[in-house]
Every structure is written in structure tokens, then in C-alpha cells.
Amino acid sequence: MAMQFYASPEQIMRDRSELARKGIARGRSAVMLSYEGGVLFVAENLSSALHKVSEIYDRIAFAAVGRYNEFENLRRAGVRMADTTGLSFDRRDVTGRALANAYAQTLGAIFTEQSKPFEVEICVAEVGGTPEDDELYRITYDGSVNDEPGRMAMGGQAEAVTGALKADHQLDMSLEAAVRLAVRALGSVGGEGGAPRTIAASQLEVAILDRRRVGRTFRRITGAPLTALLNGSPAEATGTETPDPKLPATGPDKPTESAASADLEGPDKSTGSTTGGKDAGNGNDKPGQGKAKPAK
């Protein structure tokens, strides 16, 4: 019988980590940051069909870098989990924190149990009533979770990109300033001889979780509106940020009468109805008190 080589657990974990880290660093970066009107996602992505950033639920989105097949699996799992929770309870009961926990457990289990870890790093973002209430969770290949302070970068030369972000990021930035900062940060690495790169709109995947909307807040920004944001023509950009304008959120999401998201009802006109207590009390609360922040 052949002799089995002994490999210490430390060695095995180190090897797996190295494999995952190398795989993640090979790809291009993605940047997430809070701004005044929501949470912005910018990823370098040559494909317009294979997304790195996607919607999970009303106020939750998912971004990932690394191997597409692996994070696509996780994304589907997230949508399934969120929809199951939302159906069994209420739409307000789906939280980014629960999702981040599920991802962390899953990635952690895969890292220790399988011979090849997932070469992915993911971000779960939940938009809150104010930029301070936004939640950004970074979940790495080994299942560790970090709650990031309003901005994060992952994939590629993530540390350098984070450095560029940190210097200029403020929570009360406008969307335009946030997009330009994100693109500048992404372009700060990988240029010839350390020079900054210019990244064309066609190579970017940009999406936002819009703080002011009710119901499903996730929107992609593509085409002309994106070019306008990048070139900094604010008049055009503000007009295109909300191609399908809905009234801003006026208070805590109300319990849904059905499982559909609140934005399908049109502008919220049900307050002041005399039919009963279901909708009473909405509309007087200031935006920003909207969402209770889960304890950390």
C-alpha cells in the first residue's frame, strides 16, 4: 500500500487560502459605496449580460468577484432565501444581515469541507434610511464577514483601490461624485507604469439601491445616463437617475397586503383612507427613521 503523505491542517488551509486569494486577485475589481441617495455599485465588467451586481430583494443587493459559476450559485441561493423569508413572513422581515450570515456559513462550510474552496468574494448591501444606516457586508472565500464602513472594494488589486476610495469618500456625496470617485478608484490600478487608466462606460457595470424609492429600490444605470454621469453633465444626469420616477419613501415600509413590492401600487395614496387601521400612521414619519438597524 502506498504511503499517505501527512499534511497538517494548517498547511491545507494555507494552500486553499492561497488558491482562493490568487483566483480572486486575477479578476477585475468592484467597488461599493454609500452616497447621499443610496448605495452605489460599480464593477469593471466587459459583459453586459453576465452580471457581477444583482438585485436580491427590496433594499438588498449582491455584488461578487471571482469565478462566475460559483458566485452565480450563491446569488440564486440568496434570491431563493430572501423570497422564501419574504413569503413566509413579510417583506420587511428580509434583512441583509441574515443573508450575509447564510453566505458566511455556506462559504465557511465549503472552505473547510471541500478540496477546492469557492474563489469568490461577495458583498451584501442593504440600503437604509440615511447613509449612516446603510449596511455593507464583505464575505470572503473562507466565510469571514466584515461590516464595512460605507465603502469597500474587492477583487483585483483591492487594497490599492480601497486606498484610493478612502481618501475621497464621503457619505453625503452626490451620485455623480460617487460614480466618478468609484471609476477613478478602479482606474487607479493596472495602468501602464502606474499611470491611472480611463475606463469606458461600456466596460462598467453600474447599479444603485435608491434610498428614496419605496418597494424595489435596485436600478441599473446603463447607456446614455451612465455616460452622462461619467462625463459629469449634472443636469442630464439627475434627470436620468430615476427613469421611472416614483414618490420618495415617506416612512417605514408598511406591512404589505399582498406579497408584491410596494412600488407596484403606484404612488402611495392609501393614507387617509377611512376604511381601517391598516394604513394608519404612515406618512407622518420622516424619511430616515424608516428602518430599524439590526443590532450588530
Binding site: 423570497d83 419574504g86 447564510a102 465557511g108 403606484g266 392609501s270 377611512t274 376604511t275
Partner: protein, 279 residues
């Protein structure tokens, strides 16, 4: 969630499989107890034990569709609810209304709404209007066992077809029976106990190419006619200010008329009937 205890705490395999884009198919593997058609029912008939929802009318317009429903729920000869809501948005461009056992119908509508949103999120594209109608038919059919024990639910589905060649004919209506469907209807349709009278009214008042405003008026008139002759359908309740739920689905999306808007239409209909009770 129906999963064996896994000490690693990871999501069960059924979540991570490539699987299907259909939420009901996913639930049938992951949590079948959440599906209304999957529960074993005790023998016997449950008719008369549960609230029933009644009349819904829907008609096509040049902009899309209008759907309106009365607010009454009945339990045998009693009124169980005066402000039941039976018309709901299914997704951004379609509406669903129901008649029959209210409890199961509410659950079916919730499930259908999640089904459409789930597909959209997983696939990054909306289901076609026919695809949505077929999914709803499958969900109604899965309730056949309960229907045979007196817990029938009949939905009606209408929406704006984004793939339509002619946008003025993009509004489409689908009806169902307890065994499924869908059956595409031309112009208008109604379901529920008062639909006999509502459809007779619509037959005389509907004409192709109506605007949304006209169609809303005609829909509320039809509900008034249904309430006139069917004890299980409620008319506009002016004293309590409970008016029919009226929703539209157009290229811009779905919209529910506010209470004030619905009141204006309903009061105009009632005022006209004071002049001429036959309408």
C-alpha cells in the same frame, strides 16, 4: 425551512443547485408546506365555513387594462368583510383578481406575486404575459383537490403585453377555471357570483378602443349592476366610504386608484343611478 439539521449551518443543497427559475418549483423541493395545494385536507366539505370573495370585472383599453373588484366577503348568508381587497398587482405590468375562498386566494396571489418577481430576479428578464398566465394556471390546478371540497379559488389575470406589436392592443385578459386554463378573453371578462350581471352590463357598455377613464367608469357601473342583483356583491358603501378597488396596468406600470379617485367615480355612478336606477 424544511432541511435536516446541518452542523455547518450552510444553506441546504436545494438552495445552491442550479435548479429552476420557478419559485413554486423551488418551494416544492425546499418547503412544500408553504404551497397551498400540497397540504392534506381532512375529508368532508368546507363550503360555508370560510369567507368567499365575489365579483371582479376587467376590460381592455387603448392604454392597457382596467380591473375592478367589489369589497364584500360573504360567509353563507352573512357578510364577513366589507373592505376585502380582491384586486392586486401581479407584477409591474399585470393585475390579478380572485373570487372564491378568500384565505386560499390570498395565499395564491401572494405566491403568484413572488413567483413573477423571483423569475425576474433570477433570470434578469420578465416572464412573457403568456408565461405568467400559464404559471397561474398551474397554480390554480394544484388547488383542485381543495376545490373539490368546496375551497375553490378562481383568479382572473390581465396585463399589458410588452411584446405586443400594436401598443393599443397590448391589454390582454386571461380567465381560469378550477382545473386550470388559461383561456384568453377578448375585450372584457368578469368572475365571481355577480359576474353574470356584471358581464351583461359590460356586454352592452363595452366597445373596443375605450380610454382608461371610460373603462374605469364602465367597470364601476358593472360592479354596481352586479351588486344590484347579487346579494354577495357589495356596491359602493357611501356611508363608510368604502369604494371598489380599481387598478390599471399600462405601459407605465400598475396603479391603484386612490380612495379619493375611486370615490369620485363611484359617487358619479350612484348619482346617475338616482336618476335612472337601471343605468
Amino acid at each position: 425551512m424544511a432541511a435536516a439539521f446541518d452542523p455547518s449551518g450552510r444553506l441546504p443543497d436545494v438552495f445552491l443547485n442550479v435548479g429552476t427559475s420557478s419559485f413554486t418549483q423551488f418551494l416544492s423541493a425546499a418547503a412544500p408546506d408553504l404551497l397551498p395545494g400540497r397540504r392534506p385536507l381532512p375529508p368532508g366539505s368546507a363550503t360555508g365555513l370560510v369567507p368567499h370573495a365575489t365579483t371582479i370585472v376587467t376590460l381592455t383599453t387603448t392604454d392597457g387594462v382596467v380591473m375592478a373588484g367589489d369589497r364584500r366577503g360573504t360567509m353563507g348568508n352573512l357578510i364577513s368583510s366589507r373592505d376585502m381587497r380582491k384586486v392586486h398587482p401581479a407584477d409591474a405590468h399585470s393585475l390579478v383578481g380572485f373570487a372564491g375562498t378568500a384565505g386560499i386566494a390570498m395565499e395564491l396571489v401572494r405566491l403568484f406575486q413572488v413567483e413573477l418577481e423571483h423569475y425576474e430576479k433570477i433570470e434578469g428578464a420578465m416572464l412573457s404575459l403568456d408565461g405568467k398566465a400559464n404559471r397561474l394556471a398551474a397554480m390554480v390546478r394544484s388547488n383542485l383537490g381543495a376545490a373539490m371540497q368546496g375551497l375553490a379559488v378562481i383568479p382572473i389575470f390581465a396585463g399589458f403585453d410588452l411584446a405586443a406589436a400594436d401598443p393599443t392592443r397590448a391589454g390582454r385578459i386571461f380567465s381560469f377555471d378550477v382545473a386550470g386554463g388559461p383561456y384568453e378573453e377578448v375585450g372584457y371578462d368578469g368572475i365571481g357570483s355577480g359576474s353574470l350581471f356584471a358581464k351583461s352590463a359590460l356586454k352592452k357598455r363595452y366597445r373596443p378602443g375605450m380610454s382608461t377613464e371610460e373603462a374605469i367608469r364602465v367597470a364601476v357601473e358593472a360592479l354596481y349592476d352586479a351588486a344590484d342583483d347579487d346579494s354577495a356583491t357589495g356596491g359602493p358603501d357611501l356611508s363608510r366610504r368604502i369604494y371598489p378597488v380599481v387598478m390599471t396596468a399600462t405601459a407605465e406600470g400598475t396603479n391603484r386608484l386612490s380612495d379619493a379617485e375611486a370615490a369620485t367615480v363611484a359617487e358619479a355612478v350612484v348619482a346617475a343611478r338616482l336618476e335612472n336606477p337601471g343605468g
